[in-house]
Amino acid sequence: MNIVACVKQVPDTEALIKVKADGSGIEEGGIKWVMNPYDEYGVEEALKLKEKNGGEVTIVSMGPARAMETIRTALAMGAEKGIHITIDKADEYNTAAALAAAIKGINPDIIFCGQRAIDDDSGQVGSILAELLGLPVVTLVTKLEIADGKAKAVKPIEGAQLLIESQMPCVITAQKGLNEPRYASLPGIMKAKKKPVDVKDAAALGITVQPKAKIVKMTPPPERAPGKIIGGDDPAAKAAELAKLLREEAKVI
């Protein structure tokens, strides 16, 4: 099978995010960068499919020079090769367009993306990529089976679970629960250093980035007013006071 997994490098979930004073973006100093957790599920599923069916896994990532670390991580997990698109940042549509341009020549049987990246939280790129490649997409997948040239995917929705069948090739966006991503082994890390990674810029892909959506300003979240600690020794008295405050002051119960 010819498999593609798209990955993005994002700040670790424990990172404190500070907005630049002029609101143009975030302060990147001191941030630990990791593979987007949802993309890890995509990479793992890609590797499992390859191990079962044969073939190869290509990792595609768009981002600045440091994104290469994330590609190497995926190669160390077991992927065969990578494509690094050296566009620092773009809106969702242009990101998908860049990925589509890089993937087109590969003609994959299946493409994995994370259901969203935990930095921008948009959850759009996988679906737009599918549209641009003319492929069906199943988002938020927690279980996947490939049989008879079709993909059967389980997807949780509000209050239910769907079993969806998709023709192939298709795009699958991975949700937590799909699998347990493996760690890169030391031999894997050594081997990854020698695996081929194609570095391509916008011109090499034949695209120009024309933003459709722009972030005009970033702001820190609104500060919360300091709260009230309900003091005392008696749990029942404190609970009664809380219930009263929720009912009469906050009016939320």
Binding site: A130, P156, A243
Partner: protein, 324 residues
């Protein structure tokens, strides 16, 4: 020139979902400011009769694609139908719900219509005739203000944030042929397995009671469920509790789980790791119950009780029973 504020109404099994009224009301507000009309696209099977419900929340016109092929939601079927209506009518703004279905549909539509979109917005405003959409990023560690330079200007709206406001309009029905056949679809729903527990969905709950590492085990969630039953609340969990196997992943609140904004969030035995705080700090009121007075959760809490949750929570349930 692009004109009009459009929404995609979300229905499941022939009933409109509450979030549809929220986005209709948000659309009405924008349209009044712009002096334009609100139109809704309604796709489904035997759904035409739902149009008057949308009219009640400020919708002037309802474009209906009513066909058996739309009995189940499919990304390719529904996006083709909505894209057709949008292309034929050229609206200026297109709003969807940031529900599971709405997120899926909106992203596919952004691709089909080659336009930009702001996902999961918590506020909208008009400036200089353009839509400015405010959305949490990094799970709420920052907020971004997004402007879309192409038409329609798309945004998906977080459920439970925008109020549904009754404001009756005509709701004139315009039927259209979506041109979608079963044979043209590349995906289909084989099975729908309903969650029999009748659990309230976290992202749509008015009240959430969450338990973390301090819960010590999965059976102990019973005390939270009891309080939740009384308050009509959903029960959530921190990543620590999910990783420990006490609760399923679908219950996880935080940066790698669900991002929620209920009216009331009660955090029990949750210390307040930054990735958890990111997922719930936009809640209107936050209550923290934790043994550790130094737990970071107290910095975000409107009301805090420093004590053993196993002693306090049953007492909260008892106190609520008395006053409700």
């Amino acid at each position: 020139m692009a004109k009009g504020v459009w929404i995609v109404a979300e229905q499941r099994g022939g009933a409109l979902r509450k979030v549809s009224f929220e986005i209709a009301s948000a659309a009405r507000k924008l349209a009044d400011e712009l002096g334009e009309e609100v139109s809704a696209v309604l796709v489904g099977s035997s759904v035409e009769g739902l149009a008057p419900e949308l009219a009640k929340y400020g919708v002037d016109k309802v474009y209906v694609a009513d066909d058996a092929v739309f009995a189940d939601y499919t990304t390719d079927g529904y996006s083709a139908a909505v894209a057709k209506a949008v292309k034929e009518n050229d609206p200026s703004i297109l709003l969807l719900a940031a529900s599971v279905q709405g997120k899926d549909l909106s992203a596919a539509l952004g691709g089909k219509l080659a336009t930009g979109m702001a996902s999961d917005c918590t506020d909208l405003k008009i400036e200089g005739g353009k839509l400015h959409a405010i959305r949490p990023m990094y799970a709420g560690k920052t907020f971004g203000e997004v402007v879309v330079d192409t038409f329609p200007q798309m945004a998906s709206l977080r459920p439970n944030v925008f109020p549904a406001v009754e404001n009756a309009k005509a709701g004139e029905v315009v039927k259209f042929d979506a041109g979608v056949s079963a044979a043209s679809l590349k995906t289909k729903v084989l099975e729908t397995q309903k969650d029999a527990s009748g659990k309230i969905e976290l992202t749509e709950a008015n009240i959430i009671i969450s338990g973390g590492r301090g819960m010590k085990g999965s059976d102990e969630y019973k005390i939270l469920e009891e309080l939740a039953g009384l308050l009509g609340a959903a029960v959530g969990a921190s990543r620590a509790a999910v990783d420990a196997g006490w609760k399923p992943q679908t219950d996880q609140v935080g940066q790698t789980g669900k991002v929620v904004s209920p009216n009331l969030y009660i955090a029990c035995g949750i210390s307040g790791a930054i990735q958890h705080l990111a997922g719930m700090s936009s809640s209107k009121y936050i209550v923290a119950v934790n043994k550790d007075a130094e737990a970071p959760i107290f910095a975000k809490a409107d009301y805090g009780i420093v004590d053993d949750l196993f002693k306090v929570v049953p007492e909260i349930t008892a106190a609520c029973k008395k006053i409700l």
